[in-house]
């Protein structure tokens, strides 16, 4: 009797699991997965990324999908946690059987799934900044990314300063991961741009006052100050420089490319110069800028759905990733080839796209395909972002 019950239970178990493991055969729709930091530390990144993907999914399906077949986006929240992201990625690959994955939102979390997608041979388009995600490219056969890297931002800053005839700079960088990465790059390439670093100070983003560090810098008389950090610490620095009557140009990082910085620093934000994606100053771009139409359209669509003034760079990275993947599927369909993971990967590697973050020209040696001129220098004038003259 016991045996019968046992067999019955075993049968139920097998039948119960079957639908989940059954795979193969023609899919009804093109499934693309996404692992985003919608909650937790990266929520400011993950939320607009999710909104962008949902908007694009609806738009492409309303327009008839890809040759009549719908695109389905399956989004999981990583909670900005490597382990959660790893589990979600496994699920996308094994249960949802997706063709490609978008994410994660930040570098640390992306690093946690590189081996998983490589072993499963699934193309991944990351939305995180770090260079290490796609380098060395031999080991990152299946990995691509869309945001500009730190080294491009630094190159753009030094390029701007040397155009202004400035060669003696003081650095003040946050003591967190973001600041440390910036500092490393700023020091590494300073000599190639003919820059002399006369002071190298750091600050804790939670500190209440940075006038001590700035007094040290003031004593060294640099021609410009470069500050690498995110909103809060950077705003204190802009404010403290005004307090100390320091008049030299203040150049900051892309970490302040959002309205909150201006709200925090108020008056002191005026005059701050920083490199950012073109999305910030879309309307001010010259009409012959090849990205202008794409940027205007994305901005209009996003703000129509989610509110005026809410478009931001992070959502733009997701726009690029989605478009790269759907373009790859489209061209496979056009060529009459089978749409599978390997096919999409090959198409991604030769992708050309006028996107939000820049103009992509992917190759087998460059899985990002952007150049530093996808960034523009923005100056805050009267509390508004203004395209800086160069």
């Amino acid at each position: 009797m016991k045996k019968v019950v046992f067999i019955a239970l075993a049968l139920i178990l097998v039948i119960g699991i079957m639908p989940f493991t059954a795979c193969g055969g023609a899919e009804e729709e093109y499934k693309i997965g996404a692992v985003l930091g919608i909650t937790g530390f990266n929520s400011a990144l993950g939320e607009p990324e999710k909104q962008t993907l949902e908007m694009l999914e609806e738009a492409i399906n309303d327009a008839g999908g890809i040759n009549g077949k719908n695109v389905k986006i399956i989004i999981y929240d990583t909670e900005t946690d490597s382990t959660t992201c790893f589990t979600a990625t496994k699920r996308l690959i094994e249960q949802d059987n997706v063709l490609a994955i978008i994410g994660a939102s930040s570098s640390g979390v992306t690093m946690a799934i590189l081996d998983t997608v490589t072993d499963a041979e699934v193309p991944l388009v990351s939305l995180a900044a770090s260079d290490q995600i796609i380098k060395p490219v031999e080991e990152r056969y299946w990995i691509f990314k869309t945001p500009q890297t730190n080294s491009m931002v630094v190159a753009r800053v030094y390029d701007y300063l040397s155009d202004q005839g400035i060669s003696e700079v003081a650095l003040i960088t946050a003591s967190d991961g973001f600041g440390a990465l910036g500092l490393e790059e700023l020091k590494d390439v300073a000599s190639t741009w003919g820059m002399t670093i006369v002071a190298d100070e750091s600050f804790d983003p939670d500190d209440t006052d940075m006038t001590t560090q700035l007094a040290v810098i003031k004593g060294k008389n640099p021609e410009a100050v470069i500050c690498w950090g995110t909103n809060k610490g950077s705003a204190v620095i802009a404010d403290n420089m005004k307090d100390l009557a320091m008049e030299m140009p203040l150049v900051m990082s892309h970490g302040i490319a959002n309205r909150d910085f201006i709200d925090l620093a108020g008056e002191a934000a005026n005059g701050v110069i920083f490199p950012a994606g073109k999305l910030l100053v879309t309307e001010q771009l010259p009409d012959d800028d090849p990205q202008k139409d794409v940027l205007l359209a994305y901005k209009a669509d996003f703000e129509y759905l989610y509110g005026e003034g809410n478009v931001d760079t992070f959502g733009g990275h997701a726009w690029d990733a989605f478009t790269l993947i759907t373009d790859a599927i489209q061209s496979l369909v056009d060529e009459g080839k089978e749409v599978d993971r390997a096919g999409i990967r090959d198409k991604l590697e030769s992708a050309e796209l006028v996107g939000i973050s820049g103009i992509f020209n992917m190759s087998s040696t460059d899985h990002l395909g952007l150049t530093p001129d996808c960034l523009v220098l923005v100056e805050i004038v009267d509390g508004e972002w203004t395209l800086a003259e160069e």
Binding site: V216, N231, V236, A245
Partner: protein, 291 residues
């Protein structure tokens, strides 16, 4: 080394030190009455800054908003004491300290959900450019910070030493049972100390928000620095914590100016380590006396 730089480092050190002293004051008040180190003190400071910001956002006149913020945070201190500390009854100090850590995490998480992760700024109390003297600069708001710290120290000192409530608080601190025999309710005194600490914390959060902004997680760093200031001051007297705060602020500023800003954050931890080594016996002794 230029003189103006030294002056600037000292000015910054005193400003920052005053902030640490205000935060440390709350630790001292609660510890001297109950023997508990209240690790939610930094959260009271955060609540002060954030609540004031929200109330100003509601359109209240600024002075009204600031005062109302202090009242609201004082209520939070009272509720915290009634819901988290009082039910634990006669639990040991260690248990109560762990409860305050839990309380701090809870308050921080709720604040993060309610206000979000972004920092916010309060308007400065008085406008105008920074004042220059000896080649150094001082902001009007720094003068406010230093002034309010001094006033607060004096008020708390008078309250503890010159009023009946203060004498009752002290009595409960010295010997709970004897105090109970003369009709002082130790639980009431614990409640009063939390209310007072929450109020001073809120004032601290409000005066620093115009210069260093407020955010849901600001209590972590300020709590640590305030605790070091209070521990340096011996955790019992008002003037001890004042000197402790100024000492820490000056040491940090001078170290950042003359050694390297990379080591600045190590200063507080080195001080804490030294204080714990030297004073640990005294702290424990004080704890036994309170029990």
């Amino acid at each position: 080394m230029a003189t103006w730089q030294l002056v600037q480092y000292v000015v910054t050190g005193i400003t920052v030190g005053s902030i640490y002293a205000i935060v440390g004051l709350g630790f001292t008040i609660i510890y001297s009455v109950t023997g508990i180190i209240n690790f939610a003190q930094g959260e009271f400071v955060m609540l002060g800054g954030m609540t004031a910001f929200s109330l100003i956002g509601l359109g209240l006149p600024i002075p009204v908003a600031l005062m109302l913020a202090v009242v609201l945070v004082t209520l939070v201190g009272v509720v915290f004491n009634l819901t988290a500390i009082r039910p634990a009854g006669r639990a040991s100090s260690i248990t109560l300290i762990i409860i305050t850590i839990g309380g701090a995490l809870f308050i921080r998480a709720v604040a993060g959900l309610y206000w979000g992760r972004d920092a916010v700024a309060l308007p400065p109390f008085s406008s105008g450019a920074s004042l220059s003297f000896l080649g150094a600069y001082i902001r009007p708001q720094s003068l406010w910070v230093i002034g309010i710290t001094l006033v607060l120290m004096v008020v708390v000192y008078l309250l503890l030493n010159r009023t009946l409530v203060g004498k009752a608080l002290k009595a409960a601190a010295i010997n709970r049972r004897a105090a109970a025999l003369v009709g002082i309710d130790a639980r009431m005194m614990s409640l009063v100390s939390f209310a007072l600490a929450a109020a001073t914390g809120a004032i601290g959060g409000i005066v620093i928000a115009p210069i260093s902004y407020a955010s849901y997680d600001m209590g972590v760093m300020l709590g640590l620095k305030g605790f070091v200031a209070a521990a340096m001051g011996g955790l019992t007297g008002v003037w001890g914590v004042f000197l402790g705060g100024l000492g820490l602020g000056l040491a940090e500023s001078l170290a950042a100016g003359y050694i390297s800003s990379s080591y600045k954050d190590a200063i507080a931890l080195i001080f804490l380590f030294a204080v714990l080594l030297i004073r640990s016996r005294r702290l424990v002794a004080g704890e036994e006396a309170a029990a």
